[in-house]
Symmetry: C2
Subunit: 258 residues, 2 copies
């Protein structure tokens, strides 16, 4: 089943994707919902980030080549599963431009990654039950300004500038993660391809680690990190992230003032 | 005017505090609301964290003595106003216990600080209009596990363990920040007293800095940092943070397994 969030009568609404139509719902996919007696052509609908999470978790340095690059640049290798955080203001849907502020240095990178969407409140998960709280999957593009990331006291604008967390195009509830492959295209050219489960820490590993201390809630999202190293983004570029079984997240790039 | 969030008929509800009564409302203090035709005795009501924010901003190293201590321990001094992030799972109200997990090292600290609650969506604020988006003020206690903070790849459990962000007791909309003083009491003993506006970066400084890149939304919260250095918390302790003009945030401390 495919869930989306889209602009319906000028307001955000959750919807169910059936063939080339979207059926709006009232309520939320994580609790009670009612199908609205209406349908909207998917072609032409404005898809939004498929959920605005209570908490936006993001693990990183979670694939071997990417980790090796980060360690070469001075980061440590995580010994155990862990999480970082991102901010919801930065979320946009597919097709929405990634906007680079005029004063941002040129070293802006992208990372295409799998996103797990949480469906249930839970604490103290185990490897036996952790995956029961995963409602579905979507795709994220983690944009980072590397000079800012290196020089600021913490990752804030380097990771959370408005539009720097494209997510979508929708949530797919039926995904065989063991068969999922991410393909990253930059201006139409294949740049990186990696098996999603070639990660160092799995979704279950991260959920077990974080729910030892933190309660997760319906709608929380967990970004799982990316393989490889990206070249820098420039005005006029386009990034596509495809995960087979989910779809394609596509975003153009604009530099302010160009 | 004083706004709270409290348990009403077993569900969280916003309310208006008038004398010793709470008037429940429907809707939200930041948008349209209606007073419910009912009142609840404040004495005996369970006050919750007064808002669950879309984004939880927290600046730090923002008072001179506290900064000097952190720099002595290897942190850098921020050159410009900036922000960090905390996670909403960690929020609890006044009176709720701060729970230290059994496996957490002993070096758990507290920081009493002013919290600004945002009332309007805004970007690109200036020093002339930044304070117009502040809806009101509450009190936060930023609990940190210092060994975890030092050794983990990013602040996650060190800052965001469940119950480690007490906030309350309510939101006060009429506060003269220039006259506000924080008094921190540990087991009834005065530990630290500081003028709120002895900060390095003001609320306006931080809002101007962050809204250059990020849109703030109604209900977002901005924790402003603390002065001084705290001793470690242990099972059976109690921390009170008073800011004149707002009230007192009081939380007992429990170590799991004791």
């Amino acid at each position: 089943m495919r869930w989306c969030r889209f602009k319906y009568n000028d307001h955000p609404s959750f919807g169910i994707i059936e063939d080339d139509k979207i059926i709006p719902i009232t309520g939320s996919p994580f609790e009670d919902y009612q199908r609205v007696n209406a349908e909207v052509e998917q072609n032409g609908a404005e898809l939004l980030a498929p959920v605005i999470p209570p908490t936006f978790y993001a693990t990183g340095r979670n694939y071997p080549e990417h980790l090796a690059d980060r360690v070469a640049h001075g980061s440590t290798a995580p010994k155990e599963a862990w999480t970082g955080y991102r901010a919801s203001n930065a979320l946009v849907g597919t097709k929405h431009p990634i906007i680079i502020p005029a004063d941002c240095p040129d070293d802006v990178e992208y990372e295409g990654e799998l996103v797990a969407v949480i469906g249930k409140q839970a604490k103290n998960l185990t490897h036996d039950n952790a995956m029961d709280v995963v409602f579905g999957y979507t795709i994220g593009n983690d944009i980072s300004g590397m000079s800012w990331h290196k020089n600021d006291p913490r990752p804030w604008r380097s990771k959370n500038t408005d539009t720097w967390k494209p997510m979508g195009p929708w949530i797919e509830t039926d995904l065989d993660v063991s068969k999922a492959v991410a393909t990253i295209r930059h201006n139409g050219k294949d740049m990186t391809e990696f098996k999603i489960d070639s990660w160092i820490f799995s979704i279950a590993d991260v959920l077990v680690a974080i729910t030892k201390y933190m309660t997760v809630y319906p709608g929380d999202i967990l970004w799982m990190g990316a393989e490889g190293v990206s070249p820098y983004l420039k005005h006029g570029d386009e990034v596509e992230i495809e995960i087979n079984g989910i779809g394609v997240l596509t975003n153009p790039v604009i530099r302010e003032g160009m």
